[in-house]
Amino acid sequence: MLLFILRRLFAGAVLLFVIGSVTFFLLNLSGQDPVRQILGQAASATVAEGKRHELGLDQPVLARYGEWISEVVTGNLGTSWFNNQPVTSLLAQTIPVTMSLVLGAILITSFLGAALGVLAAVRGGVVDRVLQILSTLFYAIPSFLVSLVLVLVLAVQLGVLPATGFVPFGNSPGGWLTSITLPVVSLALGATSSVALQVRGSMIDVLEQDYVRTLRARGLSTRSILYRHALRNASPPAVTTLSLIFIVLISGAVIVEKVFNIPGIGTQANLAAAQGDLPVVLGVVLVTVTMVVLVNLLLDLVQGWLNPKVRVA
């Protein structure tokens, strides 16, 4: 078990290294001159050279890369070129915001998706038809569009929820909840659809298995058979879907944050990209990939818990 986790963490670190390096060279080898982006075209050549030296951009790329790597392994992601704050502390402010969106959406997706999938598989008929139509719709429609429509209806027309803005949990838990409800729901709709479809399909397969008939012959309650036995056996493909959904949700969150004007990692990355604040951009990439690696590891462990045959020693 421990060995498995270590192996996965090592593979994750390799992935992180490769992606980080590719991103580093991508950002440093091409495109606009970052010094000019920071200072503008009006700044004098001497000032520009001073800035260049200050940022270390007068060093060869490989030297900068070596320095960057040696800093990253100690957990130092550098300093923002624009406001001189450490990248780690900038990220520490925004990641919890984005994660509360993404994890909230994942939570809703897991439970609602499983419940709807089971319902469609067991009831069939109209419920099933409606689920299939809705999932085709929400699967394909980008989440920011869903969120715009939700804002229009629930915030602008009905005024039940705030249209934009974010209230930190520390300031007001209630305000926090209402401020993330719409973003989370708009992220969750599409994800829930695909999980529900996946669960529906595998539930139908599992319910046809011999052991389900034997469980029924043992006189167990329908609830136990459906949720304790059938759903557990039907979940592994849905868990795989969840790990893909997590990545999609991060992308979705970046845009949804803009719709709701939420100060998350997306807003930050968007700003940093527009300014050419390379250390921040790099930091965002490393942190998101790290989260993906960790979530995948977690879901692998869930997978092992669900299915003893794939469980690792």
């Binding site: 495109g31 329908t222 990355a269």
Partner: protein, 622 residues
Amino acid sequence: MSENTSSGAAAPLLADEANVARYGLFHRLLRDPVAVISAVILAIVVLAAVFAPLLTNQDPVQNKLADSLAPPFTAAHPLGADSVGRDVLAQLLYGARTSLIGAVIVVVVCMGLGVPAGILAGYFRGWIDSTGSWISNALMSLPAIVVLLVVLARVGRSTPLALAVFGILIAPAAFQLIRGSVRAVREELYIDAARVSGLSNARIMGRHVLPVVIAPSIIQGSQFAAAGIGIEAGIAFLGLGTSDHASWGLMLNDASQNIFVAPSLIVWPTIAIVTTIMVFTLLGNSVRDALTGTTTNKKRRSMGARVLTGGSSTSAASREVAQQASPLGPTSRTTDALLVVEGLKITYAAQDRADKTVVHDVSLSLRKGEILGLVGESGSGKSQTAFAVLGLLPGAARMNATSLIFNGQELPKLSSEQWNNLRGRQIGYIPQEPMSNLDPSYRIGFQLTEPMRHHLQLSKTAARQEALRLLARVGISDPQRVFDSYPHEISGGMAQRVLIAGAVSCNPELLIADEPTTALDVTVQAEVLDLIRDLQSERHMAVLLVTHNFGVVADLCDQVAVMQAGRIVEAASALELFANPRHEYTRMLLDSTMENAPSRRQMALSQWQGSDTQTMNQDAIS
């Protein structure tokens, strides 16, 4: 060897898809209203994009602050203008260009990378495959928007570049799909044959591999196109796109900033985006349905629908008026019977054919402590009869019975809760195939204790002790180890003992055993039969033993009913039946059971199998 015959034999599914793709697909799509409507709408969008300059004389990107938020239904602005005075209709029409071009870029990049890479990886395998898969997995772990931001941070705003990057990021989906299809084909013998006959790799790929990947590529491509429309809108909405082009996403950006002032601005771009995305998605679905056929889906749904209905497949069944009790059913002994079945009929509704009746007018009865063998070939309806008694017929089955009484209870009248009290508690069930009848996700111990705790309200410890005792009783030498094992960790014979322990765990009065030894090794068979016999006499259970094996019958049974083609053709005590089989089918079965015994009756076998069973039965009765 022609391509069609060889692929038809070797890779039926894939080859069929390819064939359908070539010949029948277009016609099928024409008959699918969803496909036709989607295609028409797509055509309209394409035409609007192409002829945008003819449809409006407004410039979609020209700011005219005088026209800011101009109302709709005016000559200049049929759909109004946005906050900087850009005409909404013109933006919609020209935006369609941007969207469609965006979709094309995504599809071309994604398929252009994913399909060839998938073919190469699937065909050559080895290091090409592992490299491709590693890259594909790495790309999949990247959130697309974050990568776009990185690229755009260096290069500046560019819609085509952003879409191309997005195409690269979703290429793994195409890669994996195509790689899987090609790997499947690669295994086929006709590919080996083609190699042996000296065809070059390029030739084989062109002739045999490419046709297989066309259909999935079309389906996947339409989904990528839909994704491309969405991502183009997202890029423009974020303000990362080329800013001097009309775009539906740009319209949404403006609309969202003015959502309180002019909420209606959201409507048109939303309709345009949703419609176009849906059109691509539905077209893809229609192509897939046309290739695979949709009927399977419906059938599966009805099969899946059976669990919640519980015992209602029987309780809902109307009880037919008694036609005529079968003369062969042991109805004379019903007075002290535990189980009485009279006039049982089971029918399956077939979708396009006449309903199929698998059990006709079956009657039998079973006294307490008695073992009744229900004997017949596979397909004779004996298992169906047993499942009817358990209330576990599939959802598609319809059941009628003149009388179906267990222990004084009329089974068809039971609610699904009453059924659950009966099953497991009063009627135990031993299935045929041990390994597939244990839930693979739970330890044996849990599967044994759960029904006992449910039915007998035992505490966790008491149930555990009882389960260990039962495991020891069914002849398992290390009960604790098996208790703690998962089903995949034990042997088939062991699993069958576990299932027998489970069947008797709540002291049922009736044990239904469906071919309990068929799936086991010969050496284990005898032990399991001994076990069933011992448990039966110990607990004085009645047993309904479904089997095709007269050896098993001779070993265990008091009474025997012989089934053929859904009817009972002969019923007698075991002694009588073996001594004096009256029905010809019984004699034939008896003869075929005797090993290495050449028999004249075997010559009748072919006649039996070919002839109409209906007349056979009448012969038997008369």
